[in-house]
Symmetry: C2
Subunit: 391 residues, 2 copies
């Protein structure tokens, strides 16, 4: 039982094949679990062993190859026919002298693709250097070209059904961030606060439930707000301390992230207040400027012009395309809102604009997940943009 109708998967596969044709590619071996899901519906936590979806120009339906014990999962969650779901035996799993990609090579050859031009995703998390070598060695008559991010770029513009899941994730996100602001307090252990936040992520709403997020709550407090990706401890929160909260909600693997900063205490430092004010102005001004036809780098320029007036500088990008994903990242690794990115905004592209200011020993962050609309933008969640202060 798939999340989307079969027609939607077939349409995605068609667009993938068009791009493959443009690139002179006969067959694409997809290893990224988000891309595998996008093309077939397959959804399981099995990406810790090698698994692929194979798209070939001469075959309507993709072929799923994974571990034998996961083949039933592919039958239950993808639209594929049984004969296009192939499990490799257990003796390929995590063993020194064999690699599952040898089995994948055999499948490719059996299907008549042994002398074709093969694309692979060379920079994705779950396709290793050794796996690539094993595939190339097994397919000695094939030639290989880089298909990295090919499907990721196909994912850039979302369908109405995908947008709907991101809106639902946004509704969950509102509950998640409200929960965070309610539970984080001086004396409360960080782990106890995160426990309530993760509970809210998974409960979702009365109408629909939540899925696991591709990144766990990033909740540094105090001096740890000077960096981006620390999680939590079991120490209680201090008083007069800031907590950066980069959170998300997820619905059928579609994300709607949101970051906010919460100050615990009655005396937020002036520099934090001043920075928050400028950054929120920057967020508002930049979002309001969004419209189809702009370049990604022009979006960043709007932001930079606003904050440079206040003397602020941000070195890192201010956003990135996101949507469907699996751990460890909800970003799609395609368009980024940064200088040099010439991607042209189009309706139903979806981004996470995250304005994280990480200073020497403090920081502030605020973000919105949004889609580009016909004439502007729509955020997926609706929540005040400000430095939250809780006395």
């Amino acid at each position: 039982m798939t999340v989307f109708k079969k027609e939607e998967y077939l349409e995605r596969i068609d667009r993938t094949k068009m791009r493959m044709t443009e690139m002179g590619m006969d067959v694409l071996v997809v290893s990224d679990p988000a891309n595998m899901n996008y093309l077939t519906g397959y959804d399981g936590w099995s990406f810790y062993v090698p698994q692929v979806v194979i798209i070939s120009l001469d075959s309507e339906e993709p072929v799923w190859v994974g571990r034998e014990m996961d083949a039933a999962g592919a039958r239950l969650t993808s639209f594929l026919r049984k004969d296009n779901i192939i499990g490799y035996p257990e003796y390929y799993v995590q063993i020194a002298d064999r690699h599952p990609m040898e089995f994948v090579a055999d499948v490719l050859i059996q299907r008549g693709w042994g002398k074709k031009i093969i694309g692979t995703e060379t920079d994705t998390y779950y396709f290793s250097a050794r796996g690539y070598e094993a595939l190339k060695k097994g397919m000695y008559n094939a030639s290989f070209i880089d298909g990295n991010l090919l499907v990721n770029w196909i994912r850039l513009i979302k369908s109405p059904h995908e947008i709907n899941f991101m809106r639902e994730a946004g509704k969950i996100m509102e509950k998640v961030v409200q929960t965070a602001i309610d539970v984080v307090a001086p004396g409360v252990r960080e782990c106890d606060a995160v426990a309530e936040i993760m509970r809210a992520q998974i409960r979702g709403t009365e109408d629909f439930g939540g899925d696991y997020t591709a990144i766990v709550p990033l909740m540094p407090s105090g001096i740890k707000t000077s960096t981006a990706h620390l999680t939590w401890t079991d120490e209680p929160y201090d008083n007069e301390v800031a907590v950066n909260m980069e959170l998300s909600a997820c619905r059928n693997r579609y994300h709607s992230p949101m970051a906010r900063t919460l100050y615990l205490g009655s005396n937020p430092p002036q520099k934090l207040q001043d920075t928050a004010k400028v950054v929120v102005e920057g967020l508002n001004g930049t979002l309001d400027a969004i419209k189809p036809g702009m370049l990604c780098e022009e979006v960043e320029k709007v932001w930079r012009d606003i904050i440079s007036k206040a003397g602020l500088v941000k070195k890192s990008r201010i956003g990135y395309a996101m949507g469907l994903n699996y751990p460890p990242d909800w970003g799609e690794h395609t368009a980024s809102l940064r200088p040099g990115d010439k991607t042209i905004l189009q309706a139903n592209m979806t981004f996470h604009m995250i304005l994280g200011m990480w200073m020497d020993d403090w920081g502030f962050e605020v973000s919105e997940a949004f889609r580009v609309t016909e004439d502007g933008h729509e955020t997926f969640a609706n929540f005040p943009r400000k430095l939250f202060v809780k006395e």
Copy 2:
């Protein structure tokens, strides 16, 4: 502030260097986040961008190289001196024409390691084929050999402090599995049950908090119990249905997993009851046979002999080394309890013995996380081993 004392990290590094020397390796480039943590203490959710820890025979302290915004995280969580923590600029991040591994190559050359024999982890999740190419191209005077799993094997025998964290994870695990049995019930949405389970994972106990687990709760119900790695939906549980629950708890990144099967209803099928009885006998008998000096394959043989008397067959391995880890897997990818694995059990090796029987349209699973002791085994959690039935 590190979780272990500096001396423990230095001792781990010494053992790594001894193995490197045996293999004729001058420098090891470590990409696996668990290995990076093991050798330096570094703990952040930043492994979605390339990052490494470099061990060189001619340098006492490792070098951490990662994204600039994460360098402060390395300063806060590792024992490394500031000058051994190097951030790469933002313009290397997720961009088509540059790769962070080019920067890593530059660091290696600057440190005088440009002509050395370099080991890399060629089959780890977060070191891609393209990253490997970029590293080799940047270090054209170096030679490369495979250092895959080198540090993983060093991790096989745990220190008393590591065992202590796994015992603490086991204490959390008891609460987690009790929560699962309490909340899963007919009419309850799967997501609402999982929400309480994840809450219990992170809250931990009054004395210590929980960390995120490397695998989210795997909670297939009904026909989905025929496969291993499906997660959950927002549908309510039926009555007269089985739920397979493969769960874990985590403490300072150290895991203690546990699987149990819960039947909802008053009429568990006879085949499920019969299988459960045999499998639990197999688990008990196999654990009781554990002692130092046994080979991993001999452990599996004990199990196979017990269940074959009842006519049962299990194709997949019955366990694997585990402990410290990050998503997507808590397994260490070294020793497995399966035919052909000649690893000799030694005290303080730690395993997850998981007996998952995945049949055509149903399944049963039960597991224990344990350490090998001087004369037997110690499980990290204490919880009844049986088919749970909840009317």
